[in-house]
């Protein structure tokens, strides 16, 4: 059939109207699952070599501080007679005799301290305390800070004004003052608590350590609160919040389900960066003698005790000092890596 060149007649091919073959259908099937927020972030994180190395370092430190002490032949408070101030890998005379008699004696890898306690296990216990303080204090800070910041931002107006002025004030009071005063103030109630059944753990943990947690809970959430507030201020203008409100969702649920879930990236990053700063503060407090109770060691108190013998036994100082720097460094690098992975907007 000859076609008129100016006609609008379509040139239809009957084959185009046949049902699709299996082959053609296959090309339309979504082969991969859609990439979720978490997967996307983890994929980026795994590519980051520095962050992966930090995770490995943190895991190794955790294994040594939480698992190894339970089957280590020495305990952190056991004082071996005649084994005072041993150099690393050195044996005391009694231990040498025992060795000569054919017994197996586990070496003091890092030597012993002036009371004859094995230093390696003390360092491990010390890093356990430091890690625990870092993690628990950060958990407290995360909960209080995100709740406070999101409430201030969500309700806005004078609620926000008053809540943020309180934050400013807490920023201005010297924290050392509050820490010392609180540890004095908490001594009596905590001592009372020790007597009650079921609260015996207070004694092992020590009043000072508990007051450190309370101080963190009272003071150090302000940075987190500011961070969350600035995020929520931005997010609460989003359409989905208006939609949720139109559907009659309660305020608390909007904050929990919509606002906080949406600043999860910021929360992860701020939390990871808060852990080293908590460890930092704890070691500083222990160094001042306001930290954990004897005989429980922390990396800060170990370093503090070692200062007096610096001339003769420098390794007693350098081991905890190096370890604490290593822990803080790896958490910092991990935090940087997480920020690049989960919150690319924040980069630089």
């Amino acid at each position: 059939m000859k076609q008129n060149p100016i006609s609008f007649q379509l040139k239809l091919n009957p084959e185009d109207f046949l049902p699709a073959t299996e082959e053609e259908k296959e090309s339309l099937v979504i082969m991969r699952e859609s990439v979720s927020f978490w997967k996307d972030g983890f994929r980026r994180l795994v590519k980051n070599k520095v962050a992966m190395v930090s995770i490995v370092v943190i895991l190794i430190v955790m294994v040594f501080s939480f698992i190894v002490p339970s089957f280590y032949p020495y305990s952190y408070k056991e004082q071996a007679k005649g084994a005072n101030n041993l150099k690393p890998m050195q044996y005391s005379e009694q231990e040498l005799e025992a060795k000569a008699a054919g017994e197996k004696v586990f070496p003091h890898i890092f030597g012993t301290d002036k009371l004859g306690r094995d230093y390696a296990i003390r360092v491990m216990m010390g890093s356990r305390i430091s890690l625990l303080v870092g993690l628990i204090a950060t958990a407290i800070i995360l909960v209080i800070g995100s709740a406070y910041g999101s409430i201030a931002a969500f309700f806005g107006g004078w609620v926000d004004l008053i809540m943020m002025r309180i934050v400013d004030m807490i920023y201005t009071i010297p924290d050392v003052l509050l820490i010392v005063l609180l540890s004095f103030a908490l001594k009596a109630p905590l001592a009372g608590l020790m007597g009650i059944q079921g609260f015996g753990w207070v004694r092992t943990v020590g009043e000072n350590l508990i007051s450190i947690f309370i101080v963190f809970a009272l003071l150090y959430w302000v940075g987190m609160a500011r961070m969350v507030r600035s995020q929520v201020l931005m997010l609460k203008e989003s359409e989905y919040v208006t939609a949720a409100r139109a559907l009659g969702v309660s305020n608390g649920k909007i904050i929990k389900k919509h606002l906080l879930t949406n600043c999860i990236g910021t929360l992860i990053v701020t939390t990871t960066l808060q852990i080293p700063s908590s460890i930092f503060t704890e070691s500083f407090l222990s160094f001042l003698g306001l930290g954990v109770a004897v005989p429980l060691p922390s990396l800060g108190s170990l370093a503090s005790e070692a200062i007096n013998g610096l001339n003769t036994y420098p390794h007693l100082l350098f081991i905890p000092a190096a370890l604490i720097s290593l822990i803080i460094l790896s958490f910092n690098l991990l935090g940087d890596g997480l920020r690049d992975a989960f919150d690319p907007k924040l980069k630089n």
Binding site: M169, L177, V180, S283, G300, F318, A321, S325, N332
Partner: protein, 305 residues
């Protein structure tokens, strides 16, 4: 501008008052007192001492009296160091801390800002990665570690620097390095990241395109914009550093305000605690106002309201 400064000063006074009030009541709420720890003190002597300093009166009355005196510039006598006023303690100890702290801040700025700029300009090169690694490590090392390591190598092993006291210029080297370490690393990171931001801006390309030399475009356009976050950080940091770091003062036995403050807290020297807290709070709030004004000078686009 003047109106703004007046408003800020008004707010600052409210903040200082609030901090003083909180500290006063918190301090007194805590069990124990300044004269309880002293050994062999009879109840009569203790009562007499408390009466002398007005500690036997109701708490609120003490507060009113203290605030009245403080407004007249009288911060009272030290309860523990007999015969010395709080003012004389602060005026004697603060200059010592301020000299060490001031030098440390100067070092931190003179080292941190240029190195941060260099890292940003040579982004991705060896210099950049080197500076970034140093800065990251610098942030991770607590000050007492730096102090003791410095002391061990320069004081004990090499014996080239004195370890105790503050009598010659040589004594200043180690405390200043120890104090400046963290701020230097932090300023390096801050300068680098904000400089990277600025270098990517359109006006930097324009500046180069219109034929400005690299030096002028860097100093007049880039640095001026990139320095703002550094100023925000340096303000409060300056206040804290000037008033003395307890750790550094303890390790190097420097008779400064930081050590005095901690000492007064543990010995419950109420008047010294109040005096130093008010002093520190004032210093911080002044620094915050100064930071805002410097902001305006550096970046005229910023509107103060």
């Amino acid at each position: 501008m003047l109106k703004y400064i007046a408003k800020r000063i008004g707010l600052a006074i409210v903040t200082i008052w609030a901090v003083a009030t909180i500290t006063f009541f918190l301090m007194n709420m805590v069990p124990g007192g300044p004269f309880l720890s002293e050994k062999a003190i009879s109840p009569q002597a203790q009562a007499a001492l408390e009466a002398k300093y007005g500690l036997d009166k109701p708490l609120f009355e003490q507060y009113i009296t203290y605030m009245k005196d403080a407004l007249h510039g009288d911060f009272g006598d030290s309860l523990k160091q007999r015969g010395r006023t709080v003012m004389s303690i602060i005026t004697k100890k603060f200059p010592v801390s301020a000299r060490v702290g001031g030098m440390a801040v100067l070092v931190a700025l003179c080292v941190g800002v240029p190195l941060g700029c260099v890292a940003a300009i040579r982004r991705g090169k060896f210099v950049d990665s080197f500076i970034s690694v140093v800065a990251t490590c610098g942030i991770a090392v607590p000050s007492f570690v730096i102090c003791t390591v410095l002391m061990y190598f320069f004081g004990v092993k090499l014996k080239i620097l004195p370890t105790l006291g503050l009598t010659s210029w040589k004594h200043y080297i180690m405390p200043v390095i120890a104090l400046a370490f963290y701020p230097t690393a932090y300023i390096m990171r801050l300068t680098r990241s904000s400089m990277l931001d600025v270098l990517g801006q359109d006006y930097m390309r324009t500046a180069r395109a219109k034929g400005l030399s690299q030096v002028i475009s860097l100093f007049k356009h880039a640095l001026r914009n990139a320095i703002l976050p550094v100023i925000t950080y340096v303000g409060p940091m300056l206040a804290y550093t000037l008033s003395g770091s307890f750790v550094v003062e303890k390790i190097f036995t420097i008779p400064g305000l930081g050590g005095e403050f901690i000492g007064s807290i543990t010995s419950r020297d109420y008047t010294v605690i109040m005096g130093t807290t008010i002093f520190l709070a004032t210093l911080i709030t002044i620094m915050n106002v100064v930071v805002d004004i410097v902001y305006k000078i550096v970046d005229p686009r910023i509107k103060l309201k």
